[in-house]
């Protein structure tokens, strides 16, 4: 097994490949991809394409292919979530709510294209798991938001994505677009299991913005399960969630 963690895009990104034959070169190609994504989409870098767009320096026809893809996916997600997912705030784009899951998904496809079947890519808690580890399902802990040293559930997963959205994630980038001034504190975190990390991430972001209604939204969504923790340290979970949980 080859495994490495690097700090990129303002978060730890871990890539681990179980398959024999995986080399440092394979990991480098994945990290090189994340560097490219960061250079294009980081709102913290003045030279990034998204910063140039936000300053009005680029006309829509000058946008890169990747930028068009991300903006289209954001628009689609806004429709899918009744407007709760919105990358536009104060007249500026902040696509971080979709870029992370999208990039992890693409990184996983990159590893797949190199012939690997058993691996995971984890960017700040947004995870794509593929195949198995030593013939066993991957074990993913859901972190206790009140005590980061603990996990409150252990999930057994393969070939799917899992993502968690929480309060004040990296400077409160999650908010309710319908009530932008209201701080989201009642729901502390929501963890979503989806068909892949892109799907899990975008619906985690949107469900979190919905407040207490978010978990019901996930319940009604086919192919997704969710586990929501509120400020009273109660969890509410969807009907199919338990089948992924390791029995204590």
């Amino acid at each position: 097994m080859i495994k490495e963690t690097r700090l990129l895009m303002g978060m730890p990104i871990t890539v681990a490949v179980e398959d024999r034959g995986a080399t440092q070169d394979d990991l480098e190609s994945v990290y090189a991809y994340f560097v490219l994504v960061d250079e294009r989409f980081s709102t913290y870098q003045a030279s990034s394409e998204i910063s140039r767009i936000n300053r009005g320096e680029l006309a829509p026809e000058q946008y890169s292919e990747e930028m068009r893809t991300v903006l289209a996916l954001s628009e689609q997600t806004k429709r899918d979530t009744h407007g709760y997912f919105d990358i536009m705030r104060d007249g500026r784009y902040d696509p971080s709510g979709i870029v992370k899951g999208w990039a992890v998904h693409n990184a996983a496809q990159l590893l797949e294209a190199r012939g690997f079947r058993n691996f995971y890519v984890d960017a700040g808690g947004d995870v794509q798991v593929c195949g198995k580890k030593d013939g066993q399902l991957w074990r993913i802990g859901v972190r206790n938001p009140f005590n980061r040293k603990e996990h409150v559930k252990v999930l057994l997963l393969t070939d799917c994505g899992v993502a968690t959205s929480g309060t004040a994630v990296r400077g409160q980038h999650i908010y309710d677009p319908h009530h932008p001034s209201v701080r989201l504190v009642d729901v502390v975190s929501i963890t979503i299991i989806g068909p892949d990390v892109f799907e899990a991430d975008r619906f985690a972001t949107a469900a979190f913005a919905m407040g207490r209604k978010g978990i019901q939204f996930i319940e009604e969504l086919s192919g997704f399960e969710g586990y929501m923790i509120d400020a009273q340290a109660r969890a509410t979970y969807t009907s199919g969630f338990e089948r992924y949980v390791l029995r204590p």
Binding site: V127, P145, N147, R234, A235, Y237
Partner: protein
């Protein structure tokens, strides 16, 4: 079965707390919440499960005796209402008056999916894991600070 009963009591106590906390009625008990009672089997409750920080729990029973009916609270997938019986300054019983599993109510709210949401108090799980999912670090710090503020607010 006992585990179920203990869970129900925990959920009830939490619900009772949030209802009482939420309605800001001067007549309602405004003091700290006693620890949820533990079944004789020693089933861990939210307050003592492997050190899970629970911002709502504290010790010190200072409620006034009597029966208190909480207001109806919208749990989004249904309505919740509980009745609490206080004896000797402690919560002696918590009874459900309305619960989201009430079918008629649920069907009204959600006509195209059968609501099957379950609620529990979070508990630490100690098994080894390969990966952790959670909100990123600044969020954790925020929540730890909020948890601390909440526990102080009850003192």
């Amino acid at each position: 079965m006992r585990k179920l009963a203990v869970s129900a009591v925990i959920i009830g106590v939490f619900a009772f707390y949030s209802l009482m906390h939420g309605r800001a009625n001067p007549a309602s008990p405004s003091a700290v919440l006693p620890r949820p009672t533990t079944g004789s089997s020693g089933t861990p409750t939210a307050t003592d499960a492997g050190g899970v920080t629970n911002p709502t729990a504290a010790s010190g029973p200072v409620y006034k005796n009597g029966t208190y009916v909480g207001n109806v609270s919208d749990a989004q997938w249904g309505y919740v209402q509980v009745k609490a019986v206080i004896q000797g300054g402690k919560i002696a019983n918590v009874q459900w008056m309305q619960y989201p599993s009430d079918r008629q109510r649920s069907v009204e709210i959600n006509s195209y999916a059968d609501p099957q949401l379950t609620t529990e108090a979070i508990q630490a799980q100690s098994a080894q894991v390969d990966i952790v999912t959670g909100a990123t670090d600044s969020s954790i710090a925020f929540m730890e600070s909020l948890g601390n503020a909440l526990s102080q607010a009850q003192a």
